[in-house]
């Protein structure tokens, strides 16, 4: 089975790598979109640094607001283990991705063994507008954990969080919020209330408002929040990028040193505005990259055939399926090893990207 193509022509892997390296070395402004495990992400960032390129996760737009919570606001965060064992009051905030429902339900089926009361109460702060995941799934989650619903008429999540914060601080609002007295009573009785939330792409400032609410509560008692990323694998890439460069994705190396700028290094914008002149796409997912105009595309994809329009296509393995990998897990709040579910001989992202970096002509590959 072929694993490498130049255009639509099957070639040896080494030839495809040489061809891709020549394109990268001759480009003025190469950009990299990627989705990889820890080893793959590390190799991608090392390549970007060597090239003087910019990189972004393929879900960069969705990650932006989650990252902004940490870069622009900050907050108080706890771990899933602490929530499971100590939280005697859990307030779910907005729509949580369906991928986390199983984790949340597992808390509902166990008591907090390190909490004083060994029992747990649940609330759910709802926004008025459905976002991804759907209201039905969210309503089912609330029913299963027997959560008391907090909501305000026609209020978006950002509005609902603002209302809750104002009400809990004893300040006036123009709209009431349902079951507020129950929450106040539960908060007064709780030893460790935790707000569980995910990135809200519709209203990123609501995340800052929520953290303000948690900070307000901490003036009189211990309280915290648990962040559940919308995509565990993508969040793992963010953390890997932070430990390698100090910055999350949407980082570039314009002068050899990393520079984080979420607008400037928005890869899709750079392609649209023709600032980039070569697009390196690296993803083992199902999504097929689209060639943007005349900008050459080098695709590292989980594919058995060449990607339409790509100058070079190299078939790569899917981490956790074709080979063992290390990936982020919200269940533990850290990285964990994952066994391959269907081991294969397809080349891993990290191996291909390292070969690409080695194939770069040393003089031209140095970043400016």
């Amino acid at each position: 089975m072929s694993v490498a193509w130049v255009g639509s022509q099957a070639v040896f892997l080494s030839d495809a790598i040489q061809h891709a390296a020549k394109l990268l070395a001759s480009s003025r402004c190469p950009v990299i979109s990627f989705d990889a495990d820890v080893h793959g992400t590390r190799s991608v960032i090392a390549l970007a640094e060597k090239l003087g390129a910019a990189y972004d996760h393929i879900r960069g737009r969705e990650l932006l607001n989650e990252v902004a919570l940490f870069t622009s606001h900050g907050g108080m965060f706890t771990t899933p283990g602490e929530v499971r064992r100590r939280a005697d009051l859990i307030i779910l905030v907005g729509d949580l991705p369906a991928s986390h429902h199983e984790l949340i339900l597992s808390w509902a089926s166990a008591q907090p063994d390190l909490a004083g009361k060994q029992s747990r109460r649940w609330f759910h702060l709802e926004g008025g507008e459905a976002v991804s995941g759907g209201k039905d799934a969210e309503g089912e989650l609330s029913r299963q954990v027997k959560a008391v619903i907090l909501s305000a008429e026609a209020a978006s999540l950002g509005t609902a969080v603002a209302l809750l914060r104002a009400e809990l601080a004893g300040r006036r609002t123009a709209t009431p919020i349902t079951n507020l007295d129950s929450l106040k009573k539960a908060l007064a009785e709780a030893d460790f209330p935790v707000f569980v939330f995910s990135g809200n792409t519709e209203e990123p400032t609501s995340l800052a408002m929520l953290q303000g609410l948690v900070a307000d509560l901490n003036r009189s008692k211990r309280a915290s929040s648990l962040f559940l990323p919308s995509d565990d694998a993508a969040w793992g890439a963010v953390l890997t990028s932070v430990w390698m460069t100090g910055f999350p994705p949407r980082t570039g190396f314009p002068n050899g040193a990393p520079v984080y700028d979420p607008e400037r290094w928005d890869i899709q914008r750079m392609l649209r505005d023709k600032e980039a002149d070569l697009h390196l796409w690296i993803s083992p997912g199902d999504e097929i990259p689209a060639k943007q105009g005349r900008i050459p595309l080098v695709a590292l994809a989980h594919t058995a055939s060449p990607v339409a329009g790509a100058a070079v296509t190299i078939s790569i393995a899917a981490p956790g399926i074709d080979h063992d990998c290390v990936a982020y897990s919200s269940r533990t709040g850290t990285f964990r090893a994952t066994r391959a579910s269907a081991p294969s001989d397809r080349p891993a992202i990290a191996g291909i990207v390292r070969q690409l970096a080695q194939a770069l002509p040393s003089g031209e590959a140095e970043s400016c």
Binding site: T71, T159, R165, A169, A174, M209, E275
Partner: protein, 271 residues
């Protein structure tokens, strides 16, 4: 002495970092030294001489004859002098400027006037998001000076502002004045959703009642205070507006009560 003029030869392919081309930094440099300054940000970066024809000598008056959305950091950090751009500018124009004046004839990208502390930045076209706001990781926004946008501003205008005046003449996007600590943002035209979200203090001044306001702003009715007349007079005398923005006895909302709640939204009311 003629002002230092940079005439754009052709639209640049790469984004340019023009931090170095301010009156403060160019003072005392020869044309040859200026031409060698590297301003490109790609792997094959251009220098000033590659992209601009340079004329004139007075570095206190800089003219960009021709603009581009790729011109980032125009006048950033300047403390005196004048910069004029006969065209568009990119991101972060006037960022952290402390004095002097910048005039941009065309449109501007994001973070124009970001964290500026003094001087005057006038944008005659539209501006992007986060007007006057901080970059990722920065805690404070605009800290002084006057920022005028004669077109429309994007979302988050005046984010984390703590001093100074922003005037926007053709409306703005959502979250105007978000996380404000102090200062004044005046907007003529349609204002987007959630103005003043998370504002602690400061003034948002509109020529109409805001349509989509957080319920953590409380209607305070009409006010009869000297400030509205004083501020209207300032806007007219400074040449920013030709008619009063607020008029007599404007309406008022107080908020954001989710935070400190000492901010205000004043708006023109009929009658």
């Amino acid at each position: 002495m003629k002002g230092l003029t940079f005439t754009l030869r052709a639209e640049p392919e790469e984004r340019l970092d023009l931090l170095a081309l301010t009156p403060d930094r160019l003072d005392g440099m020869s044309v040859a030294e200026i031409a060698r300054l590297r301003i490109g940000t790609s792997r094959k970066p251009a220098s000033v001489g590659d992209l601009f024809k340079i004329a004139g000598k007075d570095a206190s008056r800089i003219v960009f004859d021709g603009g581009s959305a790729h011109f980032d950091g125009i006048g950033a950090g300047m403390s005196s002098g004048m910069v004029y751009v006969a065209g568009d500018a990119g991101a972060q124009a006037g960022r952290k400027m402390r004095g002097g004046a910048i005039v941009i004839e065309g449109r501007c990208g994001t973070h124009a006037g970001s964290c500026m502390a003094g001087g005057r930045l006038e944008i005659r076209g539209n501006s992007g998001d986060c007007l006057g706001g901080p970059l990722a990781g920065e805690m404070l926004g605009m800290a002084g000076g006057v920022l005028v946008v004669r077109g429309r501003a994007g979302d988050y205008a005046g984010d984390r502002m703590r001093r100074g005046v922003i005037a926007i003449l053709k409306g703005c996007g959502d979250y105007a004045g978000s996380r404000m600590i102090a200062g004044s943002v005046a907007v003529r035209g349609k204002v987007g959703a959630m103005p003043g979200y998370l504002m602690k203090r400061g003034s948002l001044l509109f020529d109409r009642r805001p349509e989509a306001l957080s319920p953590t702003f409380i209607d305070c009715g009409r006010t009869d205070i000297a400030f509205s007349g004083l501020f209207d007079r300032y806007l007219i005398e400074d040449g920013i507006l030709d008619k009063p923005l607020l008029g007599r006895r404007p309406g008022k909302y107080g908020g954001d009560t989710a935070v400190l709640g000492k901010g205000e939204i004043l708006f023109r009311m009929g009658g």
